[in-house]
Subunit: 341 residues, 4 copies
C-alpha cells in the first residue's frame, strides 16, 4: 500500500510521525466496536524528504502489507457479495483478484489518509483546521456539538449526552452480526475567502466528488442542504449582517451560515460545513442470499470479523479528502486571483 | 453566450435544431410560473460541423445575448444580495461586473445545455436515455412516477395526481413574491456495465460533482442515499438475484437497485438513479435586509420578474450534466477496459 | 475563428487594440513577399473584460471569417496535396472539409496569436520580453543580430547586411512559383529563475512541444542544440562565472549561455534562447505529381497566391506559443516554490 | 526508485522479467565504455498484476536503491557543477539534496524505462516496434543502417563499418577524462494511421516534448527536420505515390518519407522517424572552473567514474518515452476516431 504526493512545496517540515498519527486514527482495533484484525500499518517516507524537510520532489510513502490470509477469501472467489463491488469490477476488468486487498477494499483509504496528512501540514501554515464527527448513527441525529469530546469516544460522536445509549445500540447490533451507518459532519475552520471556481469546479462540487469517491458514501449536502429544498425563499435566504470588526468593512457574515460557507462555488470566509451519508458496513455475519459468477442463487456467510459501524473510521478519511481538496484550491487560487498578476 | 465542445467523434449527425430543442427546455417564459423575461436564445453552430456531420474539430455553438437592461441591475451595484454570489465573487476577483449576465447568473447554464445536447446525440447511439423530473416541491415528495407526464406539465412533475395542488401552491407563493425549491430525480436508462473508475473517479463521484456544480444545488444522493445511512446492514444490503435471461449467466440484477446502479464506483448495468436538492430561487420580490460593499446594513428590494421555482428549468441542466459525465466515462472506458488492449 | 483563454487573472488591463496589434504581425499582405489574399482579421473581445479590465471569467475573442471562395478549393476535393495533411486528416476522421479553413490551415494560428497577446500582457508585468527573428533563410544563416532591425523589414531578419540579397532570393523563388524555409530564433529576455519542472515538464520540453505544434515546424534545439552533440564534454561544458553584482551572491551566470538559459529543465535566470526549423511553404504554384482519394496518380496545380516564405509570419506565432508556455510555468511555479507555502 | 503506471488495460500479460529486460539495456557496466558503478537495479512489481496478468489497477514497480556513497558527493555540497542542474534546482526549491540520487540524476530514467516496458507490451499487441540507434557520435554521422547490428555493439551503432574507429575514439576520449555526445535516431515500425491531434497535441509535438524531457537532450527533428528548412518547396515536398497493394486504394505512401511519417500532426501510416541531439556527459574527470553557492570562483574535480558517452544508455530511455507517447495517443484515438462513436 502506498501513495505518491506530487506538487508539495519544498521546505515544508515533514516526517513519518505526523503521517503515522493521522494513520492511527483510521486503524482498526482502536476499540471493541472496531474490527480486531491486526494491521500494523506503519508508514515510511521513501522519497521527497531530506533532513526533515520536503525537497519539492514527489513524496512517496509506503505501508507494508500485513499478511492477508488469502484463505479467508477463498470461498468468496466465485460469489458476488451483496452491496459490494465484486460484480461490477469483474464485469469491467474481466479479471478478479478475489483476495481482500483490491481497490474496492477499505484498505485503499490508507493512501488517502497519508495524502491528507501531508495536505494538513500545508493547511496548518494557513491556520486552517478540519474537524469531523458523527452527526447521526443508525438513523438517530445528535443535537449537541462538543468538539472536545470527539477524540475521547470510539464513535467519534460530538454529543456526550447521547453516547452511552448509542454505544449500547452499536454493541447490540454487533452481537446480532449486523451493522449500522450514519451521517458525518465536516467543518472547516478559518477557510480563506475566495477559494473555488465559479462554474464547473465550484468548491462544494469538488468536496462532493471527494466525499462520494470514498467507499460506502451515498450522499452529500452542503450547509443546510436537502432541508433548504423544502423551505420558501424567504426562509431559506440567509441575510448578510453588518460586520464592523472587519478591516476593510466589506468582509461578509450571515445570520446562520445556511449555505455552508460557500456561495456561487466560492468560499465566503465563514466556516465551511457539509454532511455525508455513510451506509452500514456491507460485510455482515448474518446469512444472506446472493448469486455466483454463473448467475445461480447461493447462500452466503461472510467469515472474519467486521466493523459493526464504519463511521468512526471513515471520519479521518473524509477529513483527509477535505484537506486535499482545500490544498488543491489554495494552489489554484494563487494562479488566478487578482493579487497574483 | 457560447460553448466549445472538444473531443466529439467525427461523422456524428448534428445540426442547430437538435441543440435548439434541448435549449428550449430551459428557456424562460414557457408558462406563467416561469419568468416572462424575453430571451430568444437561438443557437448557431459556428464550427466543427460540415454538411450536417461533425468533422472531429471542436464544435463551437453561440447564442446571441439578448439586450440586458443594465439599468435593472444599476441599483444592485453596491449591494450583496442574500444567498447570491455577489460577495464571494467580489472578494475573489476584486472586480465586479454587476450586470446580470456573469458567471454566477443562471444564464451560464445555456452553455451546459448546449454541451449536453451534443453529448445526448452520442448517448443515443448507445441507446442510453436520461430522464429527469421533480420528485419533490416545497417539501412535499410525490410518490407516483409516470414518465410520460413529465413533458406535459410546466413543473416537470411525474405524478399527475399531485399536479393541480402543487401548481396552486406555486402560484400562491409567486403571488406572495416568494419562491420554492425541490428535489430532482434523474434516471439513466440502459447504461453500459463497467463505467466509472474504482478510486477517485467513481461514477457517482463525478455525477455528484457535475450536479453540485450547478447553481442552487445543495445536495446529492445516489440510489437510496441518506435513507441507507439510517438502516441496518441487513436492511440496506440489496441481494443479487438470479438473472437467467442474461446471455453469459453473469449479468447481475438486484432486488431493489438500492445503490442506484453503481457499486464500488462502477456501473452494474442496472438503471442509474440519483436525487438532487435544489434550493428556492434566491431572487425574491419580498423586501429583505442585507449589507452593502461598505458593510452597512441596507434594505433591499429586487426588481424584475423571477421564477417562483427554478426546479423545472434546472431539470434539463441536470440532464445535460449527466449526459456529459456519461460520455466522458464512455470514452475513458474505451481506453481502459480489457476488450480494448 | 476564435479563442477562449481561461485562467487569466482578474484586473489585468486588456482591450481589442492590444490583441489586434499582435494579430497584425501575422496578417497576410504586409508586403509583396507575403500572400495578397485579403483577410481583414479584425478581433473582438466578447467576454471576460469589463470596463477595460479582465474579470477573471474566460476571455473569448472572435475574428469574423472573411469570405472564403470555396471554388478555390473545389478542384482539391479528391486530391491529397504533397506535404499537406489532407490524407492523414481524411484517414483519421473519415470525413473531409476540403475548404481551406480547417484545422490544418495556417488560419488556425490566428487563435494562437490572440491567446499569446493576452499572455504577453501578463509577461509585461514581470518585465519579460520575447523576441523572434529569422536566423536563416533558404539554407543561409545570418551572423549579425540587430534586434532593432527586425520589425523594419518584411522578412523579420535581424541582420541588415544580408537583407537585400536575401530579399532578392525570395522574390526570385516567388517568380519561379517555388518557396523557401528557414530557421527562427526566439529569445526570452529577463526570465525569472526557477521556471520549469524537473522531470517530464521541463521548460525546454514544453517549449519544444509548443513549437512543434505549429504547422510547418520540423525541428527544435535549445541553446547550442545539435552543435553540442558534436563537441567534447570539455568544450560543451559552460563554466559558471562569479557574478558579484547579484544581490545574494548566488545568482549564476555562465561564460556563453550554451544551454539556452535552462539547466535540468529549470530556468537559470539567464536569457532563454532556442531555434526552430520551418520548412518551405508546401503550397507552391509549380506543377506537382500526387495521388487522389482512389490512390491514382494525378497531376496537380495549386491555384491562388501563396507566401513564397512562411517564416516572417510564423515568427509572431512562435512568440505567442512561447508566451503561453511561460505564463503556464509562471502560474505553476506559484503553486510549487518554497516561497509560497 | 519506482514508478506507478495508471491506465493500463487489464488482462495484459506482465511480469518482472519483461520489465527487467528493458531495464538491463540502460544499466551501467554493460561494457568498458560505460561506467562501472555497481547498480543491481532489480525491479519488482508490487501492485496491479495478479497471476501474471494486469488487473486494471495501477502497476507499481520498485527498484531498491543501491548504496550510494554519500561521501562521493560531500565535496560537491556547495559547488555548482558546470552544465548540471545544481544551481537551477537550488534557486527553485531553496533546498538542496546534494547526494547523487535526485531528480536531476540520470537514475530517474530507471522509472521511464520501467514505464516504457509496460507500454511496449501494449504496442506489441498492435505489432508496433520501436528501434533506436546512434546515428552520430562526436560529430561524425554514420551512413549505413543495419538494425541487426545495434544490440551487438556497446555503442548501439547501426553501422558496422564505422564501429571500430568510433570505439577507439570513445576509448581515447575516456582516457583523457573527457566525454562525447551524439545523435540518436528513433524509428517506429508499423504505426497505425491517424494517431495524433491536429492542433496542440500533434504527434511530433508530443514526441518532441517526451524527448526533450530526458536529461542531456538538446534538440529534436522530425523526418528530414532542419535539412528541410534549407530546401526549396519543390525539393522539400514529398510526392504521394500510387499504392496499389493497399486494401481500400486510399492508403498513402510517399517517395522518401521526408516528413517522418506524420503530416499535420497525424500519423500517415508510414514509418515514423526522428532524431535527437544528446550532449556529451557533463560530469568529466578533467579539472574545471566554476562557482560555489557564495558566487566565488572555485576549481572543481569531479571524482568517481563516469560514462565517456551517454548515448548508448539514453537510447532505451528514448525508446521508452516514444512507447509511452504512442500508447497515450492510441488510447486518445479510441475516444475520438469516427469508428468509435
Amino acid at each position: 500500500m502506498g501513495v505518491v504526493i506530487d506538487g508539495c512545496p519544498s521546505n515544508l517540515e515533514l516526517n513519518n510521525k505526523c503521517i503515522q498519527e493521522e494513520l492511527n486514527k483510521r486503524r482498526p482495533g482502536q476499540s471493541n466496536i472496531t474490527t480486531e484484525r491486526k494491521e500494523s500499518d506503519t508508514c515510511e517516507i521513501v522519497s521527497g524528504v531530506f533532513e526533515g524537510k520536503t525537497t519539492g520532489a514527489p513524496i512517496a510513502v509506503l505501508v507494508a502489507n500485513s499478511n492477508m490470509r488469502s484463505t479467508d477469501y477463498e470461498n468468496l472467489k466465485d460469489v458476488f457479495r451483496p452491496s459490494h463491488a465484486d460484480a461490477s469490477f469483474f464485469k469491467k476488468y474481466g479479471i478478479r483478484d478475489h483476495r481482500g486487498g483490491g481497490r474496492s477494499s477499505g484498505r485503499e483509504t490508507i493512501s488517502r489518509v497519508m495524502g491528507g496528512a501531508v495536505a494538513s501540514e500545508i493547511l496548518k501554515q494557513h491556520n486552517i483546521e478540519i474537524i469531523g464527527f458523527a452527526r447521526a448513527i443508525g438513523g438517530e441525529e445528535f443535537e449537541n456539538v462538543d468538539e472536545k469530546f470527539i477524540e475521547k469516544n470510539p464513535l467519534r460522536m460530538a454529543d456526550e449526552s447521547a453516547f452511552e445509549k448509542t454505544l449500547k445500540k452499536v454493541e447490540s447490533v454487533k452481537a446480532d452480526g449486523d451493522s449500522l451507518g450514519g451521517i458525518v459532519e465536516i467543518r472547516i475552520k478559518n477557510p480563506p475567502v475566495g477559494l473555488g471556481a465559479p462554474v464547473f469546479d465550484k468548491l462544494e462540487a469538488d468536496l462532493a466528488k471527494a466525499c462520494l469517491s470514498v467507499g460506502s458514501v451515498k450522499g452529500f449536502e452542503i450547509g443546510e442542504g436537502f432541508a433548504l429544498s423544502a423551505m420558501k425563499g424567504s426562509e431559506a435566504n440567509d441575510e448578510f449582517i453588518p460586520n464592523p470588526g472587519s478591516g476593510d468593512g466589506t468582509r461578509v457574515e450571515t445570520k446562520r451560515n445556511a449555505n455552508g460557507g460557500i456561495l456561487g462555488g466560492i468560499s465566503t470566509g465563514e466556516d465551511i460545513w457539509f454532511r455525508v451519508a455513510v451506509k452500514p458496513t456491507s460485510s455482515i455475519a448474518k446469512p444472506q442470499k446472493t448469486v455466483n459468477t454463473k448467475g445461480e442463487e447461493v447462500d452466503l456467510e461472510i467469515e472474519g470479523r467486521h466493523d459493526p459501524i464504519i463511521v468512526p473510521r471513515v471520519i479521518p478519511v473524509l477529513e483527509s479528502m477535505t484537506a486535499l481538496v482545500l490544498v488543491d484550491h489554495l494552489m489554484m487560487n494563487k494562479t488566478i486571483s487578482n493579487e497574483k498578476i
